[in-house]
Amino acid sequence: MKRAIILVVNGTEHSVEVQPSDLLVDVLRDRLRLTGTKKGCGTGECGACTVLLDGKPVNSCLLLAIRCEGRQITTIEGLGTPDSLHVLQKAFIDNGAVQCGFCAPGMLLSAKALLDENPAPSEMDIRQALAGNICRCTGYVKIVKAVSSAARTMSGAEGGGR
């Protein structure tokens, strides 16, 4: 039984018809064509599907879309654009933190949630915040470096973050 709901994604309202069993990750990717959010395991283990729900990182493969009505959803498409990168995105590029890139959207959103709460995280804070996001390629070294360099940039440049 389909139901029409309003999803607020990256500040824009989308009206979509969903089944009660439709997962947020599938609605984002297949219906709203926001394919920046990746689906890795589909079972809450890898973090590739991380999006922000009211600012908190969640696995969108474990969430029913219908439960997200009226809440603020942020996907990687809402973080920055190629012409106007978020400080974190720029730091990921500058530090070589992206290899295959499959983990990157989830990593970036987990990192954003961290920096929103804790603008001056220690290396341990960063590692803890990213522990639910698996990366097969980088060994996390440059990702951790990128997040701490972004934190420094954001605290140094007043209003540099978004």
Partner: protein, 332 residues
């Protein structure tokens, strides 16, 4: 009790197999605005080959890296490559790109030589210019030379190149021969802490020194080594595919365990450069070799810490506890 130990492991690894044909290929064209396009079948999976191949083309042509456009991995438009496997792309396709760029450059040099009144061999390409060796103030812009070449001389500056380290089948009797084009060498040192009550191993630090001939892009080389070490940590301590009659029993990340950001030690990477005469600008390969010494270094460190030899990977807490009990009983 928690006990610490250090272990070391060394390896060498072959790059560019020769026991079967192993070709890569590329086309290069230089445009009238001084930019260039490289076409190659080599596929970037995140290791950074497209970046490295663009750097090689830029260096050979004497134009800026930013002025290279890469067209890769499209079998309709690009010439053949065997694949992003065997740590071969920088070595094999790098050579192919360099040859293709060299051929295009040769046309530019010949055309410029006429204008500058010297022989092509007396010319160099660099900084977007072609200039007389030792007299950089006597130059022509590559954009201008490319325009004259194709519109004035009817010789578009294009090139094609392929590379195949000479195929030498191994002797079927002895298995001897020259199976690879080049070899890389590496050493890694691991420091671990083993909990003798739980058998849990924490890797504290890994130092890695890797020879890659020439690091065309040091940041990417580091990235490969760091990623390889994470695969090596997983291989040494966590990752085990459990098969039952051909069926994978743990096809999930909850029971096939990959290292997370919390499992990874502090990593230090040292790049050793001993240029390989047959490699593009001396480069060899780095992909697979990066993970090879990690697990043996960890296993040696475990031995150093608690005196048990784990001979079957991964070194799970269960195996370590069992080995510890056996040595205790041996002593008693």
């Amino acid at each position: 009790m928690k006990k610490r130990g250090k272990g070391i492991a060394c390896m060498f690894y072959p790059i560019g197999f020769t026991s079967y044909p192993n070709p890569g290929s590329a086309f290069v064209k230089v445009n009238q605005d001084g930019t260039a396009v490289v076409f190659t079948g080599a596929t970037d999976m995140g290791q950074g080959s497209t970046t490295v191949l663009a750097q090689i083309a830029a260096e050979e042509l004497g134009i800026r890296y930013e002025h290279i456009t890469m067209v890769t991995g499209d079998t309709e438009k690009t010439p053949f490559d065997l694949g992003s496997v065997a740590s071969r792309v920088t070595y094999i396709v790098g050579n192919a790109v360099k040859r293709a760029a060299h051929e295009a450059k040769r046309i530019l040099l010949e055309v410029a030589a006429e204008k500058l009144g010297v022989s092509p061999d007396g010319l160099c390409a660099g900084d977007g210019r072609i200039y007389i060796k030792g007299l950089p103030e006597r130059f022509l812009e590559i954009s201008e030379v490319a325009r004259i070449a194709q519109m004035g001389k009817g010789r578009p500056p294009i090139g094609s190149g392929s590379f195949n380290p000479i195929t030498t089948f191994l002797d079927p009797e002895t298995g001897h021969g020259k199976p690879y084009g080049a070899y890389v060498f590496a050493t890694q040192i691991a420091e671990v802490e083993v909990d003798t009550e739980t058998g849990v191993v924490e890797v504290l630090r890994i130092a890695a020194a890797h020879d890659c001939g020439k690091a065309i892009n040091p940041m990417l080389v580091e990235g490969q080594v760091e990623g390889g070490i994470s695969m090596g940590v997983g291989y040494g301590l966590f990752e085990e595919m459990v098969l039952d009659n051909g069926v994978v029993k743990n096809p999930q990340f909850t029971d096939y365990i990959l290292p997370t950001s919390l499992d990874m030690p502090e990593i230090r990477v040292g790049i050793i450069e001993r240029p390989e005469p047959t490699g593009p600008f001396g480069a060899k390969g780095i992909g697979e070799p990066s993970l090879l010494p990690t697990a043996p270094a960890i296993i040696n460190a475990i031995y150093d810490a608690v005196g048990v030899r784990i001979r079957e990977l991964p070194a799970t807490p269960e195996k370590i506890l069992k080995a510890l009990r056996e040595t205790d009983q041996g002593k008693a």
